[in-house]
């Protein structure tokens, strides 16, 4: 079990199986690249902006573009994506997409088969962790990953707790650069 304590301790007591902590953007990019059918699930925390005015959703769109990853828009995020010129590949709420993902026979967003790597980005940590717990326990056919600035113990792979947002944004920029390598 990882010794990392989640940022929000209400989610701390996961038990014995916790996310592998990864701090190297190149390693994260490799995991994404290795996936055959990844999926990026975006949540409403991405509607906020960085101090220099960049909408966090833009990071998600850049990651999706660099990695050729379909996007699932949850909550009210579709509006912002459309505003930024991108149509989501599907629109489900968090519990709905998790419910579909846990079915190994689901055909996935592209109707090519269920996904093998699911990334959560911008979902509030309590709800996100609960959704990841569902997948941890009931979807052994896929791995999960988070791109948020806090540690998510129920994921397969998670970022650490970033004390400063700037460091997290640096990680995301480096991840995008790594995904673009060898395009």
């Amino acid at each position: 079990m990882s010794a990392v304590i989640p940022r929000h301790r209400v989610n701390v007591l996961t038990g014995i199986k916790a996310a592998r902590l990864i701090e190297d953007p190149a390693e994260y990019a490799d995991l994404i690249k290795k996936a055959k059918r990844p999926l990026l699930v975006v949540g409403p925390l991405l509607l906020a902006s960085t101090p220099d005015g960049k909408v966090l959703m833009q990071y998600a769109l850049d990651i999706a573009k660099a990695g050729n990853i379909p996007i699932c828009a949850t909550a009210q995020t579709r509006g912002k994506m459309v505003e930024l010129g991108v149509q989501p590949d599907c629109v489900y709420d968090v519990v709905e997409i998790v419910n579909a993902l846990k079915d190994p026979n689901w055909r996935g967003v592209k109707k090519e088969g269920n996904h093998d790597l699911v990334m959560f980005f911008g979902i509030r940590s309590d709800l996100g962790n609960q959704g990841l717990s569902t997948l941890k326990h009931f979807a052994p056919h896929l791995k999960t990953m988070t791109l948020c600035k806090h540690y998510f113990p129920h994921a397969s792979y998670s970022l650490p707790n970033f004390r400063r947002d700037a460091k997290w944004l640096e990680f995301l920029d480096a991840l995008i650069a790594n995904l673009k390598k060898g395009e």
Binding site: R7, I16, Q130, T134
Partner: protein, 768 residues
């Protein structure tokens, strides 16, 4: 043979209890149902709305075999798997919730039976003849006296014991059967709540058969701290009504301020419109720590386990008034009243006093005595700025905040003399106090937040109890045909992501002519916001159970009147017999009554049980994001689900391909997502084309307003034929449907699930 005899004896016993010989209606197939009796109905529901589990923990630590690791398909030492463990936990939560309401009812009833005897008649006024839709439907009993309510509660307690038994280590091995049991507990809960509230209405002469109950004052600003202040806190009105009685008897009602927290506040304002509501549970610790209350009286449920310590710190006297929470205090029930008062005043001692009249006298006399000596002042902004300077914004507070925000940012701003952020954060605060406990610099966060706590006062309509039969007759047709787009019930606790969400949602749906019903902490939160004209939703909208009405039914136990109204529509409007006829009632509600519950801040075990009871009755519930921690939802798989129904008129099974209602228990992350989801969950298979067009009009416009331009992705699933398309979106929707390859389909004449699963109920039973 012995089994048959046993069943016959049991049935005879039940018939005796429900006085089956009195033919107000024929006794239906399930009088006083036991665990297996409605299991097939549950399994049918669970086939379409499968349990969705989100384990909070990988382990089971229930017995000394464990802790057992349940990850990766492992089973515990008793054989349990992770899904069944979640289902067991949900059942346990529901049982605690059900017990809380039923035991509350039993305590109230015991008090009233002592006062009035068992033969006191139940009379809910001239406009309510179906006085107890749940008791009639579930037990088959028409309760006529307080003594009859005892029969209902005894039935609940008996069933709860059996259900609790099933949770023992190494017993039930099926998650679905645990879910069926949880649904059973949910149904029992609504019986218990109904018995409790009927007893209260009868015993305390609460308003009944009236819509226009008084508007009572709500908020800290409403409380006159210059008077002696008594705070009543919890859910059970036996003591708080005794306080009002004492004040009235001694001509002190205008001299002593009585205010309440949580449901006791709602109960007390049903008894006296001079009583004030402090606010929901999320405001409790703030208010207690402010020290405004001279005496704090706790009864039961949602009263915090550290009340004696907090009261002592604030210099408030404290009395525990019910056996559910005695806090280790000396039981002074038999002690001389003057002696209790002397020791409370001279020594600051706290007591448990289980005699309501004695507790009331003590509270009033102590409050009058100590109030003049106590300093009761709100913190000034200048002092708050000084206190805030100790904050280093280390972020420890955020790590323990259940609502996941950094109060340190707000406190740092206060130190600079800026209060805007902390005022905003106060709306997110659920009032648990964990941030202050964690602060390494001992910053008095709650005290500082007093400056953010609005001194404004608002209005809340006093709880009115059951919906009147006359109202049901007026709205029955438009609800079932869909021309009233839905009944939306905002219920439950104050674990809100943002307290302002509730008033915003109530306003949105009332404006759109839905019937909006409220109870509990949500009823208070809805009143805690004014529009630009200075009006709360209770002042802005009529109090009738009719389109565009905003109705406060009362406290937690009054939730039974909301579900009871759904049953009454089936019984009064559709003339379907309800006596011991649960499946028919639930089937009617599921297929034809466009109702949706919203428990946006649900935190409690009681809320889990109330929602589960709604689900068994066919009412979907939307929950706020925190409720993912309840571990279980009931979700369909949209078009991949089983949407077959029986057309009762043609006696044919029809695949409607229509997910209506789409889910039974659903979590939304934001109010923006919740708005269109609520509208969608009011869609029913029985909607007429006109009704469906109205419902889709709201679904589409809410989607456009809160989610994105364009149309909902699943719209095609809810359009049966062209006439269902709202006029205003006709062109856009037609183009969309064409792109989707949509094909028209015929609406079902009389949709029912009866006939699609094994049941004792004949199909003809649903034809009215």
């Amino acid at each position: 043979m012995a089994k048959v005899k046993e069943l016959a004896r049991k049935l005879e016993e039940i018939h005796k209890k429900i006085r089956a010989e009195i033919p107000w209606e024929l006794v239906g197939p399930t009088p006083m149902p036991g665990i297996p009796d409605l299991r097939q109905w549950d399994m049918r529901l669970l086939k379409t709305y499968a349990p969705f589990y989100s384990p909070f923990c990988d382990l089971c630590c229930f017995c000394t075999y464990g802790k057992c690791d349940l990850t990766e398909s492992r089973r515990g030492a008793c054989g349990i798997d992770i899904a069944t463990q979640q289902a067991r936990f949900v059942l346990l939560a529901c049982l605690v919730g059900c017990s809380a309401h039923a035991a509350h009812g039993a305590h109230v009833l015991e008090h009233l039976l002592e006062k009035y005897g068992p033969d006191k008649k139940i009379d809910l006024g001239g406009s309510i003849s179906i006085e107890a839709p749940h008791i009639r439907t579930v037990l088959g009993l028409k309760p006529e006296t307080l003594g009859d309510l005892q029969v209902a509660l005894e039935y609940v307690f008996n069933e709860v014991s059996h259900l609790l038994d099933s949770c023992h280590t190494g017993q039930e091995g099926s998650a679905l059967d645990y879910e069926s049991k949880a649904l059973h507990a949910g149904m029992l809960d609504h019986v218990g709540m109904e018995a409790a509230d009927i007893a209260q209405i009868v015993g305390f002469s609460y308003p009944t058969s009236v819509a226009d109950t008084p508007l009572v004052e709500l908020g800290w600003g409403a409380i006159d701290k210059n008077k002696p202040v008594i705070l009543v806190w919890g859910h059970n009105p036996v003591t708080s009504t005794a306080v009002i009685d004492y004040l009235r008897e001694h001509n002190l009602e205008d001299k002593v301020e009585v205010c309440g927290l949580c449901c006791t506040a709602l109960e007390t304002t049903r008894y006296s419109d001079k009583a004030k509501i402090v606010g929901p549970l999320s405001r409790a610790l703030f208010f207690v720590r402010a020290g405004i209350a001279d005496v704090i009286m706790t009864d039961e449920q949602c009263i915090r386990t550290d009340t004696p310590q907090e009261a002592a710190k604030a210099g408030s006297a404290m009395i525990a008034c019910l056996d559910k929470a005695m806090y280790g205090l000396e039981n002074a029930t038999d002690m001389d009243t003057d002696e209790i008062i002397r020791r409370m005043i001279d020594n600051g001692e706290q007591f448990a006093i289980l005699d309501s009249a004695k507790a009331a006298e003590v509270a009033v006399r102590v409050a009058i005595e100590i109030a003049p000596r106590r300093r009761k002042e709100w913190l000034t902004e200048e002092r708050a700025i000084e206190l805030a300077k100790k904050c280093t914004n280390c972020g420890m507070c955020e790590q323990v905040c259940p609502n996941l925000f950094n109060i340190g940012d707000g406190i740092t701003e206060v130190a600079k003399g800026k209060f805007d952020l902390i005022r905003q954060q106060f709306l997110y605060c659920i009032g648990c106090g964990k941030c202050e406990q964690e602060c390494p610099n001992k910053v008095p966060i709650f005290k500082i937040m007093q400056t953010a706590a609005s001194m404004e006062k608002w209005k809340c309509r006093a709880g009115r109890g059951p919906i009147m039969d006359t109202e049901i007759r007026n709205v029955g047709a438009p609800i079932t045909l869909g021309t009233i787009p839905g009944v939306v019930a905002f219920v439950g606790c104050s674990n809100f992501p943002d307290i302002d969400d509730v008033a915003a949602m109530v306003d949105e749906f009332a404006k759109r002519k839905y019937i909006v019903v409220l109870s509990g902490c949500s009823a208070m939160a809805a009143g805690m916001k004014k529009d630009q004209d200075g009006l709360t939703v209770y002042e802005k909208y009529p109090p009738n159970f009719d389109m565009g009405g905003v109705v406060n039914v009362g406290s937690c136990v009054a939730n039974s009147h909301i579900t009871g109204a759904a049953i009454k529509i089936a019984n009064i409007f559709a003339a379907l017999p309800l006596r011991a006829n649960y499946e028919v009632m639930a089937d009617y509600v599921l297929n034809r009554v466009g109702a949706c519950g919203v428990a946006w801040g649900a935190y409690s075990l009681k809320a889990a049980c109330i929602a589960t009871g709604c689900n068994r009755l066919g009412i979907p519930v939307v929950l706020g994001p925190h409720s993912s921690k309840y571990r279980r939802l009931y979700l369909s798989r949209k078009e991949e689900g089983d949407w077959r129904v029986m057309d009762a008129r043609k006696k044919q099974i029809v695949d409607t391909k229509e997910p209506a209602p789409e889910h039974l228990a659903y979590v939304c992350e934001t109010k923006e997502k919740a708005m269109p989801m609520i509208a969608k969950l009011c869609i029913r298979r029985n909607d007429t084309p006109q009704g469906r067009a109205i419902k889709l009009n709201h679904y589409i416009s809410l989607y456009k307003k809160y989610i994105a331009p364009g149309l909902p992705e699943d719209l095609h699933l809810f359009v049966r034929r062209d006439a269902d398309i709202p006029l205003v979106y006709k062109k856009e929707v037609r183009e969309h449907l064409q792109k989707m390859g949509w094909q028209p389909r015929e609406p079902v004449g009389l949709p029912t699930l009866i006939g699609t699963y094994p049941s004792k109920v004949p199909i003809d039973a649903v034809i009215h």
